[in-house]
Amino acid sequence: MAAETSNPPEENESILTSAPRQAVRPFLRVLEGIGSCLRLLLEAARHIPTLPRQFGRFIEQCYLIGYTTLPIVAILSFFIGSVLALQSGYAAANIGPKQFIGLLVGLSMARELGPVMAAVLLAGRVGSAIAAELASMKVYQEIDALETMNIPPARMLVLPRLAAVLAMMPVLTIMSDLVGWFGGAIVAKYTHFISIEPASYFATMRQYMDFGDVLNGLVKAEIFGFAVVLVCCNIGLNTRGGPREIGASVTRAVVTSLILILVLDYFVTKALM
């Protein structure tokens, strides 16, 4: 009750000073978030030498991140590849060279959609689970207990997850690329207004693409995946309150991850050009 009486001082301030403050508050919160993520990253990095003896946790996280996300990445990538082939075939029907469909699907998947799809699904499946688990550990004082035991949460909970996502993102992305390419090939063969043979579809891909395009996508995927896991860990660990706040943290973790993926996508794409 008495806590509420501490609010009025803020309201007493003049409208002139409070309006600009309202405007900058979102920016401040973004900066705060970036700051606390970087602090968590540094703290986790300090414990890198302990990684070999946390091998069990690393493998467990690889399983959770990789194995559980793989099927859904495959399904989605198949349809993304198919739809890319369909749309470009539709466009090419009027202006000509249909064999470039292979190149178009190949490049889009490798450089853009493979890594983005893998990261988006990672945010939905793994990021939400991480945020929920760590938020619940925080709310039920398990994080406090770890701290009194002098076991840094960054070492035991964050570091193995960051290492695991770095190991698994290339796997997820290559899976996504391959399945997307094959989805495109199947659609290209069996759609009546396209109907190009897989051989010629893959031939243009081989001719005009090189491993650099795939590598470019892998670099992006590593950056997105790492950022998603770091942000979700940070949001989970900074949860305060009760069960409702656990839910709010999960939502915030997923939404922040999705925004972050798209914002990073622009800057990383530009930087890699």
């Binding site: 008495a2 806590a3 688990e133 550990m137 398990e142 701290e147 009194t148 035991m149 076991i151």
Partner: protein, 266 residues
Amino acid sequence: MNPSASVTSPRQGSAAVGVSVEGLSKDFSGFPVLRGISLTVNPGEIFVLMGPSGSGKSVLLKHVVGLERPSAGRVLVDGHDAADPATRGRVRMALVFQAGALFNSMTVYDNLALYPREHRLGTEAAIRDKVMRSLQMLSLENAAGKVPAELSGGMRKRVAIARALVMEPQLMLYDEPTSELDPVMSATISEVIATLREQYHVTSIVVSHDRDLALGIADRVGILMGGRLVSLGPPADLRAPSDPRVADFLNPSIDLRNPRFRRLAG
């Protein structure tokens, strides 16, 4: 169950540590919870802290382990500032949380084994030994494979105590260790606390409303009310408290004609 069949092997560098609380104040968003508390707990002492619900006992314990930062004043553990995270590396201390704070995704066994494993205190076999002895002390052998969700409230409390014992701390903080236990188990906990002091010179701060515990094992008893320490002395003082508030807290009369909740409302 005989507490002298100890959990602990002789430990290295386990000089007893003292705690001194100096003018400690804490407020949460302007609402004062602790208001200038000063007290010293001597090395090897068993200090019992009592006080009404909401008087700030748990908050005080959290300051001692460095989970809360003081608004004013400070807490020293063995001469080191408790708010400094490095203090946890210098002094082994364990807090038995009021709600247990067990790791819900781990079995009871793994809850206990986590500390020695993470700090690499011996082989897996030695850790197993230590964990099983600690579970036996609290009659929990059969719960080793269960996860916290499968335990009763009192069992959870005992697992929390067993987990703290495995840490072989120099300073033990208990937040209401006997509140959910039956009388025999409560007596066992009192015996465990006293034995740790006898054999290993462990300093203990026990938040408890258990008068048998206070009279049986405490060296001194402090009473916290409204964020202030209103009474501090040997447990015998509890029998004849001088402060009327303390007297009413310790021996509340049940008056059906003029019940407390009406008195407060009116």
